[in-house]
């Protein structure tokens, strides 16, 4: 599939993978009070679901991710965002597990969202798409899992906002989750992260081509605003060390300052490239809606009456939390707070902090120790299932 031409919405109906109509009999009741449904969810799967349906792993994607976890991405032409993790013999071993990636509601890769047609108005939803929450995303995913006939997921896993979904899954549907692996995440979005999100949203909305959200109808795209949002966010995904090592104060294709505002520095050129590449595959209104969903996330408020440990009371889900030393967006202290709450609920929890200087993006990277821990945790959980008399999560079960 070729990359879409710039001013148009990607024709998501032609993307590979699966699409399913959900919320047909009963709409999804969103937290904002609006019913959603029937709606389309696009998903992709890797590996084979065994007969006992005991080997399913749901991968929840982060803000700008999608259902294409591994292999060649149909839009970008690059590898899927978690290709290092998902595949035969990898930590999420598709010879053993059935791995599901689904595009979130509010997304822009085939699942219902602001770029899809609003049947009530026969034009793209744009900002008529309701503001959703992490909980809404999870409730929609649960409809997909119901549709696939999977009683209990062997694992729900995700990094960053995907980790928030994994936490929400474990708390909302504990009987449907055997293990949860929230990576580089937090039980609520920090003030600082809300602040960064707001900068990104303001950048989008300040672009005249945003057209009050109606750019698709007006035949425009707020490329500059969305690119600036991405540039700012991208800095928060990296670490100072990693940025410095990669670019230093090196100049871009020149020996002297231009005494102007061209991209004199390599780091400027890099960020501009990141911004431009992003607008080709992502939608500005989706960016607004999903960052908003993250802002609203607060597990303790929603499920624990303000006390995080209460949210986990009596849980039988086995947790593995992972953080990275140089992640300043979701620092280790956030994971540690979760561990303390899980301990207070006497939950079964493992927690590791991985040494990495790559910042928040570490969760996407091929760090051998990280992958080894993850595959070891999953294997240990599978052994436990066997000891409890359940069939092992294997492809031939």
């Amino acid at each position: 599939m070729s990359a879409p031409t710039k001013p148009q919405t990607p024709n998501t109906a032609e993307l590979p993978g699966y699409r399913v109509e959900l919320g047909v009999d009963e709409p999804l009741h969103l937290d904002c009070g609006v019913p959603l449904g029937p709606f389309t969810m696009a998903y992709q799967t890797y590996g084979r679901l065994n007969e006992a349906k005991s080997n399913a792993i749901l991968v929840c994607h982060a803000l700008t991710g999608d259902q294409f976890l591994a292999g060649d991405h149909p839009v970008t032409g690059k590898k899927g965002w978690w290709d290092v993790m998902v595949g035969p013999g990898k930590a999420l071993d598709t010879d053993r597990y059935f791995v599901i990636g689904c595009n979130l509601i509010g997304g822009c890769m085939g699942t219902v969202g602001p770029t899809e047609i609003n049947p009530a108005k026969d034009r793209p939803y744009a900002l008529d798409f309701p503001v959703i929450t992490i909980g809404d995303m999870v409730k929609a995913q649960k409809l997909l899992i119901d549709h696939l006939g999977i009683g209990r997921l062997f694992c729900v896993i995700g990094g960053s906002m995907g980790g928030m979904q994994a936490l929400d899954w474990a708390v909302r549907y504990p009987e449907r989750v055997f293990t949860a692996v929230p990576i580089a995440t937090a039980a609520r979005t920090s003030t600082q992260n809300i602040a960064f999100h707001e900068v990104g949203r303001q950048a989008i909305m300040a672009d005249p081509d945003w057209c009050g959200g109606n750019y698709l109808i007006e035949g425009k795209r707020p490329h500059r605003g969305l690119a600036v949002a991405r540039m700012g966010a991208h800095i928060t995904y990296l670490s100072e060390t990693a940025l410095h090592r990669r670019f230093g104060r090196n100049l871009q294709d020149r020996k002297n300052f231009t005494y102007g505002f061209e991209a004199d520095f390599q780091v400027e050129s890099y960020l501009r490239h990141q911004g431009v590449a992003f607008v080709d595959r992502f939608d500005a209104n989706t960016y607004l809606i999903i960052t908003r969903a993250m802002d609203y996330f607060d597990l303790a408020e929603e499920h624990g009456g303000g006390v995080l440990a209460e949210a986990f009371q009596g849980t039988e889900v086995r947790f593995c939390l992972i953080s990275f030393t140089s992640d300043w967006m979701f620092p280790t202290a956030e994971s540690r707070g979760l561990v303390h709450a899980l301990n207070a609920a006497a939950a079964n929890v493992s927690f590791v902090e991985i040494e990495s200087d790559q910042g928040h993006d570490s969760f996407l990277l091929d760090i051998p120790e990280y992958h080894k821990i993850l595959s070891g945790f999953l294997a240990g959980a599978a052994d436990h299932l066997v000891r409890c008399g359940t069939k092992a999560p294997s492809a031939d079960g």
């Binding site: 086995r318 080894k372 945790f377 959980a381 052994d383 000891r387």
Partner: protein
Amino acid sequence: MDDTPGRDGRPGQAASAAPGEIRADLRLVADLVAPGTRALDVGCGDGTLLHYLNQFKGVDGRGLEIRQERVNASVSRGLSVVQGNAETDLRNYPSQAFDYVILSQTLQAIHDPRGVLEELLRIGKHAIVSFTNFGYWRFRLHLACSGRMPVTDSKDHEWFDTPNIHLCTIRDFVTLCDALGITVERCFSVRRGGQTRRVRPSSALANLIGEQAVFLLGRE
């Protein structure tokens, strides 16, 4: 808890050890844990004991360990271990959440052994504590003859760089338990060759010939 003597650094203590292949004091600790119970191993090292308890006694085991590389090793083999510090993190655990809380070869490295001991018996119905007995005759002889602090065989630290800051004898430990109103339910000595023997806590002989001590503790 840092660098506990001989806890997991010894050769030949592979994670996949069959029953009987783990170190004598660990085996003794494991034997005190009833099958199918819940146990928390504080300072669990690379998870040798937890692995044994999980595999051979069906114990729902959890671990707390301060050293990241040991935590990673444990989680990599499927054990439920969190990175944390016993002196600050035990307070997060609810009361009576475990049947056993184990402090194996870790007591000597703790800043506040009394506080931690009380936490063990708040969290667990029983506590199992093992440590090197500095009343052991070789240590006494070493001090008497050379006039220098004993350096136990399982670690090479000198007195000035050892993480082991609270060394005690069996008698010292029993005195502390009495002061805290903790009941010694069972007491064992482990001799240098690995022979274990149940002893009376007040036994002067046990305090002389046991190189290691293992206590099963409870509250009345």
